[in-house]
């Protein structure tokens, strides 16, 4: 009998018991003996020279232990924060990697930049003292908008980076693409801005630095998605501490969405300062601080052109993108608008020629890095928006133009002109399912009904594909990644038959403790409740590259399966010995080893007991114990894909957009826990809709002050902004991993913005409006309608 809590079952999340009863242990819940508190003095300027720092008053305040500055770090030979991906410009030169000191030296480059670190007996005391640190600044002109920062004469963010240009990169075949445009019957052009977002994980970042003089070991507790990566980057590049002397613990983490992948200055500072001052130091970010220190997302400006023949068949796509990097290169910033973006510009279409040019630009703003989807939402958005406009210009139905260009299922595996090879997917089927679910045929009637209530109704589609399960290390390495991208797992049987699984895939909302246990329950036939999943501690887990890029099940989950396979292989030998046969005669199913010849059986729990109490054991050929590790390096990316259909209503008198319905059809390959997958889709859609309609990180163009710096001005999506989602999955298994899984974490955030915005534009198209920038706030839509009315009157 199949395991009732195994693969395919909607098992309730075991971790939720502690989360919803307030028993989670987040970094700020951890209190170490003798702990002190740190607070950062941060720059109030977007760009300034630091003339002097005077900490005298602060140091004289009660309970203040130390005030540390960039000079103290320099004296200890502390390095800058590294970037994990080398991108080369089209002329072959490496990207510019200006210094990224954990505490500023002589310059500050964005509002919120770290200037000094104050340590005191209490948190409020540290904050009081931070207010008393006197920093004398000489304010400089700031480069705020990326496009403006590229112009001659723009203020320089880094003196050693001319023109603020980090790299000028290209991808695809330029000559072939130019040729396609020459032969085009029609070219659709569109300029779009992908709005900058603030990630806003519910748990603000926090870090505790601890140093043990007896063992000369450091411990860092931190809110990260990948503790081993932090250990590697911080140990090797910043603090110059051997990994054997460094433990990084990521306990319960309250959401990340990418923003907790990166190695942040605060982690390095608390760890370094712990040894320097002999104190255990806790730093907890407050929300205002999060807004100006957590890496932001998106912020692209793109000009795109789509060349078609007279039948609307795509001949070529050309895009020019300007991407803001912010003030410094965050850990994976350089890879986001390049290898995670331009490689996806084929989308689900068989466009034969694609060329992308991307200029990455330093600005006096918070660093920009991966945020749920990371590059792929930007690619999907530009592609699906231009296809929508192309359909209108070609007078083709929005479904017809897609049908004429979708890669057929029979063409799999399909090699795109932008270097990816899609292994599987049935795109036309997803479209059919989506259109049927959404009753596409009945739209005209619904539009009429809305019109009677003074509302403009629109319908929008998006098809998306993403490269997930990041990534084959050899491929990533060839593209400039400075780390491998495998995942590690250890499956440890205990003598009495329970199992502990150690995984490098950190869980911070994804439900790994449930999903991974389901996988192990199915593979090993062990009761679900006898399986414990451990993650987030470099001292306990063999290794890990962490959680991002929808890679946990597709890479981390497969690593667990590989470790399970090793367990089964060894167990068969043990069972064969006890049952007095040979391993090749042993079958394994649902936790039972059976000798095919004699029908004698042994449960896996009995095998485990025998492994640890090896009285009757093949000592000549096997070691005792039942504990196996696996490192899994994927053979290809995985390619989740799908089709989203959204309907909106726009109030004619106010411009207010509301979502009338949203249908999501996703192909995630094999689904392990349908309930968790549905939750992931809901969350992704919420964030995608948030980007389309609400969220907008706004800087003052001159001063570089963050205007949308709190929830009073930064609009997060809430339940009443979202419709009741209608989601379904079409399972086309991934062909190159044993689970057949593709990953589901980012899909919603990738596919939703284009579906929503295409619906908005569809609703307004009768007015002659062919584009509105995100977020489509009431005012943006109202202004567009006013402009259109005025244009018609003129």
């Amino acid at each position: 009998m199949a395991n009732p809590n195994g693969i395919g079952a909607s098992v309730r999340r075991v971790e939720d018991n502690r989360f919803i009863t307030g028993r989670g242990t987040y970094t700020d819940d951890i209190n170490r003996p003798g702990q002190t508190y740190g607070w950062f003095v941060r720059s109030p300027h977007a760009a300034a020279k630091i003339k002097s720092i005077n900490a005298k008053k602060a140091l004289a305040m009660p309970g203040v232990i130390a005030v540390l500055t960039g000079a103290d770090m320099a004296a200890d030979n502390i390095g800058g924060l590294p970037c994990g991906w080398l991108v080369k410009s089209k002329d072959g030169s490496p990207m510019k990697e200006p210094g990224h000191p954990p505490l500023a030296n002589d310059r500050v480059r964005h509002v919120g930049d770290q200037v000094a670190f104050v340590i005191a007996a209490t948190r409020e005391g540290a904050r009081d003292a931070a207010d008393a640190v006197e920093v004398s600044y000489e304010p400089l002109k700031a480069a705020v908008d990326a496009a403006a920062a590229l112009k001659p004469g723009a203020p320089l963010v880094h003196d050693d980076v001319p023109g603020n240009l980090c790299y000028d990169w290209e991808w695809g075949d330029k000559a072939k693409t130019d040729e396609a445009f020459k032969n085009a019957a029609h070219v659709t052009k569109l300029k779009v801005i992908n709005n900058r977002l603030v990630p806003n994980a519910i748990e603000p970042r926090a870090a505790i630095g601890e140093y043990d003089r007896a063992s000369d070991r450091y411990t860092l507790y931190t809110t990260t998605q990948n503790p081993h990566v932090i250990r590697l980057l911080m140990g090797a590049f910043v603090l110059h501490v051997p990994e054997s002397k460094l433990r990084v613990v990521a306990p319960d983490v309250g959401g990340g969405f990418g923003s907790k992948i990166f190695h942040y200055a605060e982690e390095a500072v608390v760890t370094w300062a712990a040894k320097k001052t002999g104190q255990t130091i806790k730093w907890t970010c407050d929300r205002s601080e999060s807004f100006v220190t957590d890496a932001h997302g998106r912020d692209h400006t793109t000009e795109a052109e789509l060349a078609m023949d007279k039948n609307g068949k795509f001949l070529g796509l050309r895009v020019h993108t300007i991407a803001s990097m912010g003030a410094y290169l965050s850990t994976f910033a350089s890879s986001v608008p390049t290898y995670l973006y331009a490689t996806l510009l084929a989308g689900q279409y068989s466009t034969p020629a694609i060329y992308a040019n991307v200029k990455a630009v330093f600005t006096n703003t918070v660093p920009v890095d991966a945020y749920r989807g990371a590059g792929r939402p930007e690619a999907c958005y530009i592609l699906e928006r231009i296809v929508e406009n192309a359909a209108r210009e070609m007078k083709l139905d929005k479904t017809e133009i897609r049908r004429r260009n979708l890669v057929p299922a029979a063409a799999m595996p399909y090699m795109t002109p932008v270097a990816l090879q899609y292994d599987s997917g049935n795109f036309a089927h997803n479209l059919d399912v989506g259109l049927k679910a959404a009753d596409y045929a009945g739209f005209a009637k619904r539009k009429e009904a809305s019109a009677k209530q003074g509302k403009l109704r629109g319908i929008g589609l998006s098809t998306y594909i993403e490269a997930c399960g990041i990534a084959p290390s050899a491929v990533a390495g060839a593209l400039g990644a400075r780390a491998g991208l495998y995942e590690a797992a250890e499956v440890r049987f205990h003598p009495t038959g329970t199992v502990t699984v150690f995984t490098g895939s950190h869980s911070h909302g994804q439900g790994h403790e449930t999903t991974f246990a389901q996988v192990v329950a199915t593979k090993l036939g062990v009761p679900f409740e006898n399986i414990e999943i451990v993650h987030g501690d470099t001292d306990r887990i063999p290794f890990g590259m962490g959680t991002y890029g929808s890679r946990s099940i597709a890479v981390g989950g497969v690593a667990i399966v590989e470790a399970c396979e090793k367990i089964i292989t060894k167990s068969k030998k043990i069972a064969a010995h006890v049952l007095q046969t040979t391993a090749d005669k042993i079958d394994f199913e649902d936790g039972v080893f059976k000798d095919k010849a004699s029908n004698k059986t042994m449960t896996i729990a009995e095998v485990a007991f025998t492994a640890y109490v090896p009285h009757n054991f093949p000592h000549d050929t096997l070691e005792p114990g039942l504990d196996e590790q696996a490192f899994y390096d994927p053979k290809n990316f995985t390619y989740p894909n799908g089709c989203y259909v959204c309907e909106v209503e726009i109030a004619q008198d106010t411009g207010e957009v509301s979502i009338a319905s949203f249908y999501a059809v996703d192909d995630f390959g094999k689904v392990i826990n349908p309930m968790i997958v549905e939750g992931q889709v809901h969350g992704g859609l919420g964030q995608g809709i948030g980007q389309a309609l609400l969220e907008h990180c706004v800087y003052d163009h001159q001063s570089g002050q963050l205007i949308s710096g709190s929830y009073m001005d930064y609009a997060m999506p809430r339940a009443d902004n979202l419709p009741s989602f209608n989601v379904s999955t079409t399972e086309v298994p991934c062909t190159h991993n044993v689970l057949g899984v593709k990953g589901c974490g980012e899909a919603g955030a990738i596919g939703a913005p284009a579906a929503v915005m295409n619906a908005v534009v569809d609703a307004l198209s009768n007015l002659g409006i062919n584009h509105i920038e995100m977020p489509a706030t009431s005012q943006n839509v109202w202004q567009a309608m006013q402009g259109a009315t005025k244009k018609a009157a003129d």
Binding site: D128, T654, S708, D713, Y714, A715, Q779, W782
Partner: protein
Amino acid sequence: MREFSYHRPKSVADAAKAFSSKSEARYLAGGHSLLPAMKQRLNAPSDLIDLSAIKDLKGIKIAGGEVVIGAGTTHAEVAHSTEIKKAIPALCVLAEGIGDPQVRNRGTIGGSLANNDPASDYPAAVLGLGATVVTNKREIAADSFFKGLFETALEDGEIITAVRFPIPEKAGYAKFAQPASRFCIVGVMAAKTKSGVRVAVTGAGPGVFRATDIEKALASSFSAGASLPAVKASGLSSDIHAGAEYRAHLVGVMAKRAVAAAG
């Protein structure tokens, strides 16, 4: 938040006495504006005088053609009051639209009015319904109470004890919420009262104001179909959510919706 001393007097007189004896004291009502400001260190009073234990500030009464609401009454209590729902349903609608359940269960009418945030809802009700603000010293007519951005006629240390709303013939409230804060980009209370039509606008400008042109237009016909004059953008607020022109447009739309809601 910086250190402060905390007081919880049982009477209005004790509260006023405590206030006058301290140099940098602040009254604390629901705390939904003051406490966040203190957390951000934008405000650092020496003493907080919590008014929540004063029984005299609580309660809702209907008498003499008026709804009298104690200053310490929460938004939730107003929103769910069956008596108010019968007398001035628009007031319940307005209170139910403030913030979120947590805010409505702590925030009070007195606190909101004393703070006079230019985007808060209650000033529109007080001005639009021609209410009277009762303090521990005097009674202040709505038309004299609001003095623009976070300014009121209240003197230093003066405590609002109640608000008296004359029951109108009919009244309606319509709000266009700012998407992030859910405060008002524009909120309009339109009322047909014994002394004439009153239309009060909050959110659109630096302080609540009466839209006298709209009042005139509605005086002849207080109906949703009435033709309303266009509102001028000059003097209205602009921010990342709504420019002055959009706000001006919304005043007209919300005024129509408010009249329609009045029935």
